[in-house]
């Protein structure tokens, strides 16, 4: 990490700030961006209530979740030395949703309990462990992706099943939330619920950055350069699970942000896996915040779920990366 912020990171942060203001201004009640900014910092009557209590939590959540997804994607791609790695590709968000849904709809806890993110984190951890166990330690990324697809589908089906079997008759309407994600109707409690986990996950991942650099030359070389590989794996996989679990617990499963974000910044940081982390997090936040503004602007009777939009943009991107790097992907052990 360089000590002074790079122009790239400053630019991204500025863009993020502008989007955040826009996000505060977008919604059914017409409030101009200037007014939104004013309403945030000073009392402007009803505008302040709308901005602070409805739009601010939503904006902060999209920002936090996008940030941790970008960071997670960049670190997993660095760890596995593969541009197709991401929690979404490994089925982790669906598994996290399953964990949350099980404790929620069987009446174990309410929607605003700390148990919810913890159950989601356990779901994410189990899915990553399952994918890695099934695929084996030296699996190619193709095998990893296939195993992830299977685990993701299974967890998605499990989520729908758990909700259908739930004693709560209204639960069925929420299947869509858990499978496709949304920032609609989120409160500051959700922010408080997710924030500590996202901070911990960020610290875990960022502390692994120098090890990721050495890992560009493979595990054997990284170890000879003094990198503690088990610790590096623990920090990144653990950080990914904690970040994904906490995000899914408050926003449902949202995919592909982490896959796309690192690719957009790599050329600007000389493909350095350590310097990719920070801007990938910023880009992730920008992408998700922009997507969340877009779902509010799309004219529809019910708000379009954000996971729909990220998948519509993310999947073609995923296919494009596969098409471009077919030959090497066939042989690269993850």
């Amino acid at each position: 990490m360089s000590r002074t912020p790079s122009p790239l990171n400053l630019g991204l942060a500025a863009l993020l700030a502008m989007l955040a203001i826009a996000s505060l201004a977008i919604g059914p009640a017409p409030i101009s961006p200037l007014m939104a900014a004013k309403a945030l910092v000073s009392d402007q009557g009803s505008a302040s209530i709308v901005v602070r209590e409805i739009r601010l939590p939503r904006t902060l959540l999209a920002l936090m979740v996008g940030w941790i997804f970008g960071l997670t994607g960049a670190s997993l791609q660095g760890l596995l030395r593969n541009p197709l790695a991401d929690t979404a590709v490994f089925g982790a968000p669906q598994a996290a949703a399953l964990g949350a849904v099980i404790v929620l709809y069987f009446g174990v806890v309410g929607a605003l309990s700390w148990v919810l993110p913890i159950a989601a984190i356990i779901g994410a951890l189990l899915s990553i462990a399952l994918v890695v166990t099934v695929a084996g330690r030296n699996a190619t990324v193709v095998v990893l992706v296939l195993a992830g697809l299977a685990v993701g589908s299974l967890a998605g089906a499990g989520t729908a099943l758990a909700i259908s079997l739930s004693p709560n008759p209204f639960a069925v309407t929420e299947i869509v939330f858990w499978l496709l994600g949304s920032f609609e109707d989120r409160s500051s409690t959700h922010v408080v619920l997710a924030l500590p986990f996202i901070v911990v996950a960020s610290l875990m991942i960022l502390s692994a950055s120098s090890g990721l650099r050495a890992l560009a030359l493979g595990e054997e070389t990284a170890r000879s350069l003094g990198v503690n590989m088990p610790l590096l794996r623990l920090l990144i996989v653990g950080g990914a699970a904690v970040g994904t679990g906490a995000s899914v617990a408050v926003a449902g499963s949202i995919g592909f942000v982490g896959l796309v974000a690192p690719h957009l910044v790599r050329p600007f940081v000389g493909y350095d896996p350590a310097r990719t982390l920070l801007p990938a997090g910023l880009i992730g936040a920008i992408l998700l915040l922009a997507a969340d503004c877009a779902v509010r602007l799309i004219p529809s009777s019910v708000e379009v779920k954000i996971g729909v939009l990220t998948a519509l943009l993310g999947v073609p991107f995923f296919l494009w990366v596969i098409a471009r790097r077919k030959a090497e992907l066939a042989e690269t052990p993850a």
Binding site: S2, R81, N82, S210, R213, A214, L215, A216, L217, G218, E220, T221, R223, S224, L225, G226, V227, N228, R266, G270, Y271, D272, P273, A274, R275
Partner: protein, 261 residues
């Protein structure tokens, strides 16, 4: 001093005993070349010397201290290790790849010290990579990439350098330049150990040869003592022509013997 020693070293890979009671003392200031047929345990021996695998029995010590118990950062500064056939995951510029050799010194590629910058420049020059500095490492040929990875190992300026098949992908000219670099490094006081298949080059450049076969050390001596026609027939199953020329020993593999070993 940097004396590397293996004592009754046994290493298991899965259920197979890859190294069996290996005793070796490798002194500084020498280029030692490990040779042996495929599956002899050469790479396993090098990894054990580097402290990257824990022995099933026996131990590897550096000046008397077991390498597997050295602190990772100290071991990385002391022992540079180049695995065989390495790759670079991202299109990093050559200079940045070479600069990764400075990580054990706590120097990141974007914040090298003056000594670090000098070490990187020296390594690039030694591996004959001038003019390649800004090229993405993933766009180089196999031989060029092998030299970049060797330069990375050199840039650490470690007193012990362990390299696995450093010339496997190289053209004849670069085979020679790389071996000259390794020998010069040894002459400057480093303890250099290389695994190689090219017996001709090994005979010409090595100060000592370790002949490994089926996980055991069959011979550890000067090239002229190890590379005898009888020994080459017994260990490699080849008929070889051995002669003495002006530049040193010349070993030429002539034909495979009908019944190897």
């Amino acid at each position: 001093m940097m004396r590397l020693a293996a004592t009754s070293l046994c290493v298991d890979l899965g259920r197979r005993r890859a190294l069996d009671a290996v005793d070796l003392i490798l002194g500084p200031g020498r280029l030692t070349v490990i040779v042996g047929p495929n599956g002899a345990g050469k790479t396993t021996l090098l990894r054990a010397l580097a402290g990257l695998i824990a022995p099933a029995a026996g131990h590897v010590t550096l000046d008397g201290a077991p390498v597997v118990r050295m602190r990772a950062s100290e071991r990385a500064r002391t022992i540079a290790y180049l695995p065989q056939g390495g790759s670079v995951a991202w299109p990093l510029p050559v200079t940045n790849v070479v600069a990764l050799g400075r990580l054990p010194h706590g120097e990141q590629p974007d914040s090298l010290s003056a000594a670090g910058r000098e070490a990187v420049a020296d390594a690039i020059a030694a591996a004959d990579l001038k003019g390649f500095e800004d090229r993405p490492a993933t766009e180089l040929s196999g031989g060029e990439r092998a030299r970049v990875l060797l330069a990375r190992a050199l840039a650490t300026k470690a007193p012990v350098l362990l390299v696995d098949e450093p010339v496997a992908a190289l053209d004849p000219r670069h085979e020679l330049t790389v071996l000259q670099v390794l020998r010069a490094h040894a002459k400057a006081g480093a303890n250099v150990v290389a695994v190689m298949h090219n017996l001709t080059l090994a005979a010409r450049f090595a100060d000592a040869i370790v002949l490994l076969d089926q996980g055991r050390v069959q011979a550890h001596a000067a090239p002229a003592e190890v590379f005898t026609e009888a020994q080459l027939a017994a260990s490699f199953g080849i008929r070889a022509h051995v002669s003495h020329a002006e530049g040193g020993l010349v070993v030429v593999a002539e034909s495979a013997l009908p019944e190897p070993r």
